[in-house]
């Protein structure tokens, strides 16, 4: 019985956090993407992308739960979301890929040469990340995806699409003929969100991941939702720390503002939310790693709850920082913006709460 991370897991997260901290611009006021390539290179050099890859393919063979503190660090450091999406895609290939696909993809991933962007969201489907208009018919992919983080610099796209009968996941190189990638104008330019259009793109059967596996899409959603929950908690924790630090230092009426209950109690409530959110997210990481029975419910719980906590934490931090909080220079807006990207990635809060209920009711019927 131990719900803590071991030293290796923790120090991995700390190391990644330090690498990100070396690139101060990541959390600076300017949301442009200047240092993305350097950050990727530094993390690749550290071996981040080899961690989830099995030893036979040149990796370390860790499980997703081993990377939980690392993914929190990616969130806290406002790392480009493409990094986490590549890790999620790696795990998806581990679980859903056949031997050939694994052999073909994993060495490049482990070497940091294959960045994978996940293309799931579409317009016109409400907040549902599952239903796709984007269709695969007779080996041809046609449709449009939005908010694909890092598609413009990735080598590969992992696309949620569907045939007549069922959802499928397709691996499509970003330079495949018929693929058009345009950057969005959006709330968080640093996330590198792109619109990706597929115009009759040829997709061979070998490019389909987990074909015929009814749980393939669920697997991707669970992994993605869990990773997003980790990044959300990274943000929430930074917001807590910065709020507390400012509340200790900033004086008004002759006292540090943290001595006023209006501020102190808000920080305390935020600390409790961070504790609850992290526990929920950590459990989802474990449930994914172990393929626990409640994996889907744990992942959706984490996504819904942690997304909410991160958004609230950003609001709290801005309010506690007062006038400074809404200055561009202080940079809190960077976290506020990124929290929105996370909130709307892999399905909205309402969709995931809905999924928690569906899973829970289904489990009751089985029991």
């Amino acid at each position: 019985m131990n719900f803590l991370f071991n030293e290796e897991q923790t120090s991995l997260g700390e190391t990644v956090g330090q690498v990100l901290a070396d690139h101060a611009a990541l959390t600076g006021p300017d949301p442009s993407r200047g240092s993305d390539a350097e950050v990727w290179a530094a993390l690749a050099e550290l071996g981040l992308f080899s961690l989830l890859v099995a030893e036979e393919h040149g990796g370390v063979g860790l499980g997703l739960v081993d990377l939980a503190p690392t993914i929190e660090a990616l969130g806290a450091g406002l790392a480009p979301p493409l990094i986490a999406s590549t890790l999620v895609a790696t795990e998806a290939v581990n679980r859903l890929g056949d031997a050939e696909q694994r052999a073909q993809l994993l060495p490049g991933i482990a070497a940091g040469e294959t960045a994978i962007a996940i293309a799931s969201a579409e317009l016109g489907r409400g907040n549902d990340p599952v239903f796709a208009e984007c269709g695969l018919h007779d080996g041809r992919l046609t449709g449009r995806k939005i908010a694909v983080a890092g598609a413009d610099v990735a080598q590969m796209l992992l696309v949620v699409t569907r045939t007549q009968s069922a959802p499928v996941l397709a691996l499509v190189p970003t330079d495949a003929p018929g693929v058009t990638i345009e950057p969005h104008a959006d709330i968080d330019p640093s996330a590198g969100l792109c619109r990706v259009t597929f115009d009759n793109v040829a997709v061979a059967s070998a490019q389909l991941l987990g074909e015929g596996s009814p749980g393939a899409l669920d697997t991707l959603i669970d992994l993605g939702a869990t990773a997003q929950s980790g990044m959300a908690m990274g943000i929430a924790e930074v917001m807590l720390k910065r709020s507390v630090a400012y509340a200790c230092e900033r004086e008004q009426f002759g006292k540090p503002i943290g001595s006023f209950q209006a501020i102190k109690h808000r920080c305390a409530d935020l600390a409790v939310a961070v504790e609850a959110g992290k526990a929920t997210s950590h459990y989802a990481f474990w449930a994914c790693s172990e393929d626990a029975e409640d994996r889907a419910s744990a992942a959706s719980a984490a996504k819904a709850y942690c997304g909410e906590i991160a958004c609230n934490a950003c609001n709290d931090a801005i309010q506690i920082h007062g006038g400074m909080g809404f200055t561009w220079e202080l940079g809190l807006h960077r976290f506020l913006r990124r929290a929105q990207v996370i909130e709307h990635a892999v399905g909205s809060r309402a969709w995931h709460y809905e999924r928690v209920v569906a899973e829970t009711l289904a489990a009751r019927e089985v029991a």
Binding site: F3, H265, A268, D269, A279
Partner: protein
């Protein structure tokens, strides 16, 4: 990260589960419940406590030499979960075990240990807690009940409040002022007061749910032998703080969580069965959002407790974690109870005893009871101060 139990821990769980299966009446929690009448319920719980003692399931965390099992923290967590899972009655002697007993174990004289511990673990003597006073609630250190030493006795005068089960207790574990001139935290002491002493009177305090768990207890020239002082005179505040840290830890929350989850299960059961104009309640997307959040929060209660639990297992001091846990479960449980009534629609008002009440009207009682969660055992305001100051390091 590892949620498995050792074989020994697993055996402990099975042993307890097996014992509970025989100790509790057939159909317990399904068709058989605690008596509704308060006096009868007291007798029932007293008997249950004695049964626990006879099975060596009372004070399991105490050392073997005092009749305990020297249970590990994990075993205490398992104990809390299994008791809750079996819907076992609550112990009447929580104060005896968790507060009086624990304090005597740590700070009592050998004579006090010999005199008081055996009847506690045997549940032959029941205890109440004399801490809060009408003017010392959140500000506990401003206790005014005075104990003046006269020869080999203290003479106690004052009033305590929220003395749960005072009417059924043989002893009171009381925080009293022994030095009125010292700064307020410095003049307090712990006395063990025989509830049959002349000069003690008790007035029951009903709660908003209609139950009378609590009391006001008045002390008028009550004589207490000096050997019933625990620890040093005027050292009571320090002792109280170490003792209180043990009162509400993750073990407590783990047990509660199982009970809250039983409530939530009942709510899901109602939602899955109760017809509406177009299906059942559980088909309503708005209802589902409320259910979803409650499911997540009730699960988070368990996870937050397990985090803290793991930290203590790993050697961390018990600190403000207890406040985080308490603040979390109390408000999450209140939200669940609010959600339940929200969801039930017009039937929300029907309570125990009405043929049309959902799930026997349990949600209404739980709703009313839940309002106390954010007040007792340290109000949420006090917990937030503790978290802000002791955990986050914010200035006073």
């Amino acid at each position: 990260m590892d949620f498995t139990y050792t074989d020994e821990e697993h055996r402990f769980r099975l042993e307890l589960r097996a014992w509970l299966a025989t100790a509790l009446p057939e159909g317990w929690g399904e068709t058989v419940f605690e008596p509704e009448d308060e006096e009868e319920r007291y007798l029932f719980r007293r008997d249950w406590d004695k049964k626990l003692s006879s099975g060596r399931w009372a004070g399991i965390n105490w050392p073997v030499e005092y009749g305990g099992r020297g249970a590990t923290l994990v075993e205490r967590g398992i104990f809390a979960e299994e008791m809750a899972r079996a819907k076992a009655p609550e112990s009447l002697n929580i104060i005896g075990h968790n507060l009086a007993g624990t304090t005597i174990l740590h700070h009592g004289s050998q004579a006090q240990k010999d005199r008081f511990l055996p009847p506690i673990i045997a549940n032959e003597e029941f205890w109440c807690q004399g801490f809060s006073e009408p003017n010392a609630g959140s500000d506990l250190a401003s206790v005014r009940t005075k104990a003046v030493r006269k020869g080999d006795k203290y003479v106690v005068n004052g009033q305590k409040i929220w003395t749960s089960y005072a009417q059924y207790s043989q002893w009171c574990f009381a925080l009293v002022r022994t030095d009125p001139d010292a700064p307020k935290h410095k003049g307090l002491s712990f006395l063990l007061i025989d509830m049959s002493s002349p000069g003690i009177s008790i007035r029951p305090l009903r709660q908003i749910s209609g139950e009378s768990e609590f009391n006001e207890t008045f002390f008028e020239d009550v004589e207490v032998p000096v050997e019933n002082l625990v620890g040093q005179e005027n050292d009571g505040w320090r002792i109280a703080m170490t003792t209180l840290a043990y009162e509400r830890g993750p073990e407590d929350c783990l047990g509660r969580q199982v009970r809250f989850k039983q409530e939530l299960e009942k709510l899901l059961e109602v939602c899955a069965a109760e017809p509406t104009a177009n299906g059942v309640l559980a088909d309503d997307p708005v209802v589902r959002q409320k259910l979803g959040r409650s499911i997540v929060e009730v699960e988070a209660m368990r996870l937050v407790a397990l985090k803290s639990f793991s930290r203590i297992l790993a050697g961390d001091e018990r600190g403000p974690d207890a406040s985080v846990i308490k603040l979390y479960w109390s408000h999450a449980a209140q939200r669940m109870n609010e959600a339940a009534l929200d969801i039930l629609g017009p039937a929300a008002v029907l309570s125990e005893g009405d043929d049309d009440a959902m799930a026997g009207g349990r949600f209404q009682t739980s709703f009313l009871q839940s309002k106390a969660f954010s007040i007792y055992s340290g109000s949420s305001e006090i917990q937030r101060n503790i978290i802000g100051e002791r955990m986050l390091g914010l200035p006073r």
